[in-house]
């Protein structure tokens, strides 16, 4: 009995400690949200609580500033993710289901690029993209992002496709299915969850990317991505904090909505992926 009581106390202490940590973790978000409804005077006078009047106009002005950045980010991230899924899925399927000369050599070649850090390629890649006259266009970000993002995608998806029982493919082939059909009717449905979570991961990376868009897209304000847009708040003198925080909240919404509704896929995908890779 006393042992049970002890366990109960342990559990309560545990919950109390973790609750405190959750409060600390979420304090920034709480602060940003309440501040997004205030003007500078209200933030200075009463920083940690809501105070009336609520300044909804902050959101109107932030929305006007951010909507263009958001559009750019959505185009770049969308194209990158679609590109990775298409190019990566084809390669992963070929590696998983075909035997051909030099297969391992080619696979190791791709694998080796995991070792090449972005930092090594940063300067020459900038020069290359400059020579291709891509600076200031979406492709300057999309193409290198696909090239980098596909590597882990191929490695992880290959191992998942290889995990599908061989008999499924055999019976389909005996029934006269073409490889395109086998891919769309067997491999794709069975690895949908993995593909989905890998795509979410690629989305997160591309949406958060900062350095490369800074180099290639920051010259023209109408091409800036959302991270660059937020970064430019840094330099404004006499800043109005309310609209800035409203902008932060708006910029966070797409990711939070996308991931909260797909949390299960995301967690299972990212964890199995990280350990396999």
């Amino acid at each position: 009995m006393s042992n049970k009581a002890k366990q109960k106390i342990c559990k309560c202490v545990n919950i109390a400690v973790l609750s405190f940590l959750v409060v600390c973790t979420f304090f920034p978000f709480y602060f940003m949200i309440i501040s997004s409804f205030k003007n500078n005077a209200q933030i200075a006078a009463n920083p940690f609580l809501l105070s009336s009047p609520f300044r909804f106009e902050n959101y109107v002005s932030a929305f006007g500033k951010i909507i263009g950045y958001m559009k750019n980010s959505l185009i770049i991230t969308g194209c990158t993710v679609i590109g990775i899924v298409i190019v990566g899925s084809i390669s992963a399927y070929v590696f998983a289901k075909f035997e051909f000369p030099f297969k391992n050599a080619i696979y190791m070649f791709i694998l080796a690029f995991m070792m090449i850090p972005i930092i090594l390629t940063l300067i020459p890649l900038f020069v290359l993209v400059n020579q291709l006259k891509l600076i200031g266009s979406y492709f300057a970000v999309i193409l290198p992002d696909i090239a980098t993002g596909q590597i882990t995608y191929i490695i992880i998806l290959r191992s998942f496709i290889e995990g599908i029982p061989h008999e499924l493919f055999e019976s389909a082939r005996i029934d006269g299915a073409k490889h395109r059909q086998i891919f769309t009717h067997i491999a794709f449905p069975l690895t949908k969850a993995t593909i989905f979570s890998l795509a979410l991961m690629a989305f997160l990376n591309s949406w958060n990317d900062f350095l490369w868009p800074l180099l290639t897209l920051s010259a023209n304000d109408s091409m800036k991505t959302i991270t660059l847009g937020l970064y430019s708040f840094r330099d404004i003198q006499q800043i109005q904090y309310g609209p800035m925080f409203a902008g932060f909240v708006l910029a966070s919404l797409p990711l939070i909505i996308l991931f909260s509704t797909n949390m299960k896929y995301f967690i299972s995908g990212i964890t199995s992926g990280a350990v396999k890779a």
Binding site: C10, L120, L122, V127, N208, F210, F259, A274
Partner: protein, 299 residues
Amino acid sequence: MKTKKEGLMYKVYKAKWCYIALLPSLILLGMFKLYPAVIGIFRSLCSWKSKNYFSPVFAGLINYKRLFTDFEFWKSFGVLLVFIITGFITTFIICLPFTYLVYKLEGSRFGKFFQRAFVIPMMVPGMVTLMFWRFFYEYQEGILNTILRFIGKEEWIHIWLADNNLTLPALLFIGFPFVAGFSFLILLSGFLNLDASLAEAAKLDGANAWKRFFTIDLPLVIPQIKVLSVLGMINGIQAFNTQMVMTDGKYNTMVPGLYMYQTAFKKGNYGYASAMSVMLFVIILIITIMQQKYIKNVD
């Protein structure tokens, strides 16, 4: 001999669709990864500045000689080491035990709640988090100084992001309380995959909670710990968003990546910056190889 060669050619011909299917992947890699990497290594041996941007001149090892005597560069490695060690401490001494506590609540409604609560912050864009912390340390309206004024410790108020001694600790504190995020997710998945029967057996043997944690549960998440330490190292060496957004590398917060970036894109000395990036690449490579070897030994 001849037939064997023909055989290979025939096999290659027969499998031509495989190669064609792999072409998009390989072209992208060749163009945006391999070519820049090779050029980067070659250009690190050149005198290549913004004034001769289109015509780099081969200069041998001059950039590397200069690099070895560049005090700023090696000092930035010291700062980087502080960041990486702090990262390891926050991951394995702070995040790991609390992740274990969350795992211990698995099965109750609190467990689900905490699991989600510590994953959600991952989805807030990194730039938003950094800009929040900039505001946190702001001199006039900043949260930290507001709190200090509120509790009457006026003498503790500082210009947190422009102080040779205090700015580095201030940057290290970013991310407090260090539980939520990617490491949490990876470690949690490790704990959730634990074999429950082992824990039951230990309980029957009368092992207390501490002993159970160190002798049974902790060894089973060693794969996750390895993954996180490799990633922490490789990503840590390259990361400089925090320093760039908060201080631009001033006030003793310069790290090698940012130094390279500024040498290339602010000062326009591309050749010298390329030598730095090659140096960082070599260091990353050595660490990766050593860790692979070490990991194999442990297994």
